[in-house]
């Protein structure tokens, strides 16, 4: 584990150091689970997920055969759809069918009761990697805030 990285338990979300922004990482038994955990890490920068209801949702799909670019598309599409729907997100689902990815997310509309964090503008290609190590998938990149 790198200096500055924190992880509550193996196979979940983590952060790693970057000068101006945040490095987010997700780990899981499948690549989909790693992507979901990376999304959890990214959205937790903006709002505490435990404080959210999950009474609103959206779903989307995209095609991307390159695993690393698929992580970037997944995270950035979530950011865009969350903004378009005015939602703060707490839960995610993802299924992969060859190069086709089917995603969904749940959360609630922003309101004044929510303790706001820092807005994430986008997921970058910096320190981007998706790899299988010792039977566990890890997906990571730097997100711009």
């Amino acid at each position: 584990m790198e200096s500055g990285e924190r992880s509550d338990r193996p196979g979940c979300s983590a952060y790693f150091e970057h000068d101006a922004d945040f490095g987010v990482a997700g780990r899981g038994a499948t690549v989909e689970e790693a992507f979901i955990q990376a999304a959890q890490a990214m959205f937790a920068i903006m709002v505490e997920p435990d404080k959210l209801r999950d009474d609103a949702q959206f779903a989307f799909e995209f095609e991307e055969p390159d695993l690393e670019l698929a992580l970037i598309v997944w995270l950035n599409r979530l950011l865009a759809e969350a903004r378009r729907n005015g939602l703060a997100l707490r839960r995610f689902a993802l299924r992969r069918d060859g190069p086709r990815w089917l995603g969904a997310a749940w959360g609630q509309r922003w309101d004044d009761s929510l303790a706001r964090g820092t807005e994430v503008k986008g997921a970058t290609l910096t320190m981007l990697s998706v790899r299988l190590t010792a039977g566990q998938w890890e997906a990571r990149c730097v997100v711009d805030v």
Binding site: G4, Y15, E17, H18, D19, A20, D21, F22, M46, V47, E68, L69, I72, V73, N76, L79, A80, R83, R84, G86, A88, W110, L114, A115, R116, G117, T118, E119, K121, G122, A123, T124, L125, T126, L128, V142, D144, V145
Partner: protein, 477 residues
């Protein structure tokens, strides 16, 4: 940064010697020993990678506030020649396209404003939409947004936000030619629907400042600035639309580079030749996002005037200047002794045209362009002036802020938002923040010393200091 890897050119300029068989443009880093030592080694790595991109003109440069970015370093400046296969890079502009600062000068002195500063901070906090998830009162569906993307701040003035006098003091007159709204995705336009006239979060802010020190009396007079004067600085960019343009083209240009056989030292330098269809599409979309940012800051300037009018009805707020620090623009510069057009990427670097430049408003032409430098909410900020290009060899560019000295993760470990705001209040600085966590990430101690950065900027011949301002009230997202 390990200075052993560098060769010192003069007191404030450093380079990286070429290794045997290494092919790239020169790299120039600006700053003092202390500032360079505080930079991560990744800054050097990124500046060297930029120097390897096709068609680079002159050097790959890093300003004194440089730090580790994505693709280009923050504080990175590089120009590319379209005639020699030069590229345009989405990573060289970033997600927050045309992030920049609008500075408003008022007719008030601090003793006149001080008794009302609490009420003013509160009014600004209520009127300026800020923070993650916030929306403005103005809602623009995608079909109406195209007018913003073509018209920039001129569109905003036509809608009643501000005056024509504002436009004369905005970079490019508030509207950049060459925008192609049709190259901006529907998702980007939908993402912007409720975000016109919003501040955002992170390092964005609206700050009431006071001129604490005049460095150059003649330039200060040309800019209408004086000791104890109250100013307002608004730091933000193109909001969701710009973020989505960056997102869309980062991936599509990464694929284009591969398809076009461009050897990239890092994938994050996603780019395409300026002359290619992909390059032209990105330039058109990025220019549309610049206009979106200029319109956004124009609306925020209008909202700022509304807040002042409620609390200090005799206040007059005029635009001193509005300049971006995340752009790529086609400009004319002298390269290898010859005047030519190049595409200048400034990623966390401010355009700083010198005296006599035809693009400057007449009232500033003798003094040079106002260069607005945002420091921190606890220390101070600067107005600099552009200098002659014989002095400034960085394609008329200067620093843009203090530059981070510590990561956000480290800042969160060191400071608590509520305690920090109390400490600043004791120092006479009122902070109105939508996010305690965000305030902690932006703690003044997490940044480099802005005084050192601006002194190095001046001594390196990039721009000269005109006035130093101290913060008195700040709205944070």
């Amino acid at each position: 940064m390990d200075l052993k890897r560098l060769q010192q050119l003069d007191e404030f300029r450093w380079t990286v010697p070429l290794r045997a068989a290494e092919e790239r443009a020169p790299v120039v880093l600006y700053g003092t020993v202390e500032l360079l030592e505080s930079m991560d080694d990744k800054v050097l790595e990124q500046a060297v990678n930029v120097a390897k991109l096709p068609g680079i003109a002159g050097s790959s440069m890093v300003m004194p506030d440089g730090h580790w970015g994505y693709g280009f370093p923050i504080g990175g400046v590089a120009a590319f020649d379209a005639q020699r296969g030069g590229i345009v890079s989405a990573g060289g502009v970033g997600f927050d396209i045309s992030c920049g600062i609008r500075c408003l000068r008022t007719n008030l002195t601090w003793p006149q404003a001080a008794p009302k500063i609490d009420a003013l901070a509160e009014a600004l906090f209520r009127i300026i939409p800020a923070g993650v998830g916030s929306e403005g009162r103005l809602r623009l569906p995608p079909e109406e947004l195209d007018e913003v993307l073509s018209g920039g701040a001129q569109w905003a003035v036509e809608q009643g936000y501000g005056t024509a006098e504002d436009l004369a003091c905005i970079e490019d007159g508030g509207r950049v030619e060459g925008a192609k709204p049709e190259c901006v995705s529907l998702l980007a336009k939908q993402r912007q629907e409720g975000e016109m006239g919003t501040l955002g979060s992170g390092n964005h802010y609206l700050e009431v400042q006071v001129v604490e020190r005049v460095h150059d009396a003649a330039a200060a007079a040309a800019y209408g600035l004086f000791q104890d004067q109250v100013l307002v600085s608004i730091h933000c960019g193109s909001r969701g639309l710009g973020h989505q343009v960056g997102t869309d083209y980062l991936v599509s240009l990464a694929k284009a580079a591969q398809r076009l056989g461009i050897q990239l030292p890092e994938r994050e330098l996603a780019c395409a030749p300026i002359a290619s269809p992909e390059g032209q599409q990105y330039l058109g979309a990025m220019t549309a996002a610049i206009n979106c940012a200029l319109a956004n800051r124009q609306i925020l300037a209008h909202l700022t005037r509304t807040a002042f009018a409620r609390v200090l009805p005799d206040a007059v707020l005029e635009t001193l200047f509005d300049v971006s620090h995340n752009t790529c623009k086609c400009e004319t510069h002298v390269v290898d002794g010859k005047e030519q057009q190049v595409y200048v990427h400034r990623k966390g670097a401010t355009r700083a045209f010198g005296p006599g430049h035809p693009a400057l408003p007449e009232q500033y032409r003798a003094a040079g362009q106002p260069v607005i430098i945002g420091g921190t909410m606890g220390t101070g900020s600067y107005i600099l002036a552009g200098v002659d290009e014989k002095q400034n060899q960085a394609f008329a560019s200067a620093c843009h802020g203090a530059g981070r000295a510590m990561s956000r993760t480290q800042a969160l470990k060191r400071w608590r938002g509520d305690q920090l705001l109390q400490e600043l209040k004791h120092q006479g600085i009122l902070i109105r923040a939508h996010s305690a966590r965000g305030a902690a990430e932006e703690a003044p101690g997490a940044y480099k010393d802005v005084d050192s950065v601006c002194e190095a900027t001046e001594k390196a011949g990039l721009a000269k200091r005109v006035v130093h301002m101290v913060p008195r009230a700040c709205v944070k997202g």
